[in-house]
Amino acid sequence: EDKVVQSPLSLVVHEGDTVTLNCSYEVTNFRSLLWYKQEKKAPTFLFMLTSSGIEKKSGRLSSILDKKELSSILNITATQTGDSAIYLCAVKTTDSWGKFQFGAGTQVVVTP
């Protein structure tokens, strides 16, 4: 059975800290890994990773995939209170209809 595990489940940091979130997966027919940010409403897309070792960056956020270790990390540097959210990891497979398997998410709280 396909599985996506995120760690930690939650964390509290101070503004300015750096945060590292982990996502590990066990799926058959891996295609890509996606990160989403969820504030109070719908998840919004952050990154899609398909190749190992290639870092994707957007401002203070970056992410990298390690296919050998079946995992990905999401880094947030110089955190701000606006980074407070649930960060979701999803793995897409090559099933004919493109199944997305989601992890439980990591709740990040950034305090002033």
Partner: protein, 116 residues
């Protein structure tokens, strides 16, 4: 473009009542999905559709039915609501798997359902 919209945004039901959640997308996406999100459990797939007139079961389909009569709409029905169906429901849509560049799912704003 409105993207993915869901109606209603909130609903309270009594046990045994029925209701239908409507999802609409204007991006001409082939694939549509219904998820439920419960605390500490991430998003779990209820049903999905790979095209107009087709539906299939996801991870947690029991107690739900769906229909995709038009490409832009995906309906989720609860025939006899139970307290265990209290959750936040998200609809999503995406392009088919073969179009790699647009691989992500786009989510609606969610429907918060409480069953008493």
């Amino acid at each position: 473009n409105a993207g993915v919209t869901q109606t209603p945004k909130f609903r309270v039901l009594k046990t045994g009542q029925s209701m239908t959640l409507l999802c609409a997308q204007d991006m001409n996406h082939e694939y549509m999905y219904w998820y439920r999100q419960d605390p500490g459990m991430g998003l779990r797939l209820i049903h999905y559709s790979v095209g107009e007139g087709t539906t299939a079961k996801g991870e947690v389909p029991d107690g739900y039915n769906v229909s995709r009569l038009k490409k832009q709409n995906f309906l989720l029905g609860l025939e006899s609501a139970a307290p265990s169906q209290t959750s936040v429901y998200f609809c999503a849509s995406s392009y088919p798997t073969s179009i790699l560049t647009y691989n992500e799912q786009f989510f609606g704003p969610g429907t918060r359902l409480t069953v008493l």
